[in-house]
Symmetry: C2
Subunit: 385 residues, 2 copies
């Protein structure tokens, strides 16, 4: 096992009917700004529950934070906060709203140009406004970590950053608020959580038995509950299990003491930037290709995955690896998430551009051993066709 | 899945050579009091590493915190701190030292009689001195939770308490410091962690799939690594896996959203109080008896445990339950921890006294359904013979 540090002070408030509990978490004298996205919270009852819980508080609102939240939108909120002196943020939404709120929280008190905070991956952040979240979409894990990804339209850049001050003070996870989500968003969330796990698991063995088993626990649960979530949208336990999976997939627990990959994400990000394909869909396309092209380097962990997650024990090593890749692909397909570029009307013509983008963004040494060079990335992209 | 709250702000610093990292965690201007136990840290190099890390700091020491730490000993430390104005505590030791330090941290600033803090299970605690820990014995989980158990010799009482201010600010877990532990302490630690897990797992199903699988992950790992830890005391990965198991067994993760039992612990506490038997040894005796007597109430989870942890699938339900109990017993015995009262020269003569103690301490409704009355406890105790 590798050495590690693990720190996560976010308080999770989990279960049906828990949105009311935000009242006790936010200081009485706070000037609260509620941040949200496209307005679905005003139709599904979440907004009303939040307003009811905070009925006697000083509240403002900032809506319109988009998927892949942009610096341009978020800076409007930063100016609003500076003018109106809000001192506590409440993100009500999915990963984009929470990520956006993290940027806002860090930017408000920063004296320089706030994009510098992102450009330096968070290194220049000194402090942040306190904030909590009410999660509406299980997928990104942002509700229980201190990282975020922000897009700068003007610069055509999408960058991650993180800082210890950017853990939500609390996050409310009420599985019933996910009942009304479109099937596509649930499916994307399951794939996103699944690939968060594999990025921290399908690397090389370091004899970290608990981390491996926890990862397998998440994968098995996502495989069991994912299809049920589509078939039975109001099955509480199914939604609860999925919601808890998505949070634990990226809260630091799985990565503690083990190598991490993240090549699938980095290559997927470029696909989204180029084609607008949903984040999770890029992951569903890239992961099987990474497993195929990196089968040699990842052999031991893929074979462990094959056996423990899919029960594959027959055949020689290559046959078991191939079967594990096919099972993975079939699972994503069963969630109605296609796994090949051609399914999205994309073909080999985009590959040179994607490779150039990776180079331009300095993504030239990807993977757990930093040996996925642009040549290897090109081979992976060809396996995505 | 049941509703839950999960909050754990302890920073874990894990791995070989990490004791030096305490320097960065403790504020530069702190007046630090190092608390410890019987002095083993002065022989195994841990004390030297701590002093070296804090070479330029203002430091005091308080040694002699005993196993089952007593109010009487700890109050001497409280008076010392009040006189000498220490403002940061560093517990260097196992669960007893950390538990004792939690009491000290809460008592120092309390204006009333500090035993009231324990008597009220922590309800009267308002604040605590900040403290960190350097763990030397994987077992209790105290290094990453906010609970403690303190004994009052004068009142012949041993009580648990907890408070949100009692999480260690940080805990250093260096597996190499466990190399020199006596085999008996390692074995006790493995049993302690194992039963911490079963208290949160062998109850009744609530469809909390991840919590179940995490519990099974811990049990499987303890079963694999426990005997190896005895056979190969300096196998780093084995000690690392055990240390991480013991911490995660009682840090709030497993109990989030599921019922909890703790009858084995409550009955075991009375055995320790009466006979002086090691805590873990009482657990090894009581758990198989609880499983036997409560096999009906716990049927579904014991069958799940039988299959997923021990691979038992043959036979009817009763046969599988019996096999699971025998496997559990055999595992403890393989750790050189006997599982029957007679192995410790105790017999049925102590049962009436133990039942009376349970009544005297108001332990009359134990278990996940609060239906283990003194009559049921008596049946469990007879199954311990």
């Amino acid at each position: 096992m590798n050495n590690f540090k693990l720190y996560n002070p976010t308080k999770i408030i989990f279960g049906k009917g828990t949105i009311k509990d935000i009242a006790a978490e936010i200081p009485q004298n706070a000037r609260i700004l509620i941040t949200y996205g496209g307005g679905s919270i005003k139709h599904n009852g979440v907004y009303d529950q939040v307003r009811k819980a905070l009925a006697d508080r000083r509240i403002g609102e900032f809506g319109g934070i988009e998927p892949n939240p942009t610096y341009e939108t978020l800076m409007r909120c930063v100016h609003m906060i500076r003018e109106e002196q809000f001192d506590y943020l409440l993100a009500v939404g999915g990963g984009s709203v929470i990520d956006g709120t993290k940027f806002i929280a860090a930017a408000v008190t920063y004296e320089g140009e706030p994009w510098e905070l992102v450009q330096t991956y968070g290194a220049k952040i000194k402090q942040s406004l306190p904030f909590g979240s009410v999660l509406t979409l299980p997928a990104s894990g942002s509700e229980m970590n201190n990282g975020a990804v922000i897009t700068h339209k003007g610069l055509n850049a999408k960058l991650p950053f993180a800082h210890p001050s950017l853990f939500p003070r609390f996050s409310v996870l009420d599985p019933t608020v996910t009942y009304s989500l479109p099937a596509k968003q649930i499916a994307n969330g399951v794939v996103d959580a699944f690939v968060h796990v594999t990025e921290q698991y399908l690397t090389y063995p370091v004899n970290a038995k608990l981390q491996d088993r926890f990862a397998e626990s998440l994968l098995l649960t996502l495989i069991e509950e994912g299809p049920k979530a589509l078939a039975e949208p109001e099955n509480y336990d199914v939604r609860a299990n999925l919601m808890w999976c998505a949070t634990l997939a990226l809260n630091g627990l799985l990565s503690a003491g083990v190598p991490q990959d993240w090549a699938t994400h980095m290559i997927g990000h470029e696909m989204t930037a180029l084609s607008g394909l949903d984040h999770a869909r890029t992951l569903a396309v890239v992961l099987p290709a990474v497993m195929k092209i990196r089968a040699g380097e990842k052999k031991e962990k893929i074979l462990q995955y094959a056996e423990r997650v899919w029960g594959i024990t027959d055949g020689d090593e290559q046959a078991r690896i191939d079967a594990a890749i096919e099972k993975t692909r079939a699972f994503f397909e069963s969630m109605k998430v296609p796994t090949r570029l051609c399914d999205y009307n994309l073909n080999e013509a985009i590959i040179p551009t994607l490779v150039e983008q990776l180079k331009a963004h300095n993504m030239i040494k990807l993977g757990e051993k930093r040996d996925i060079t642009p040549d290897v990335a090109e081979a992976i992209l060809k396996a995505c066709l």
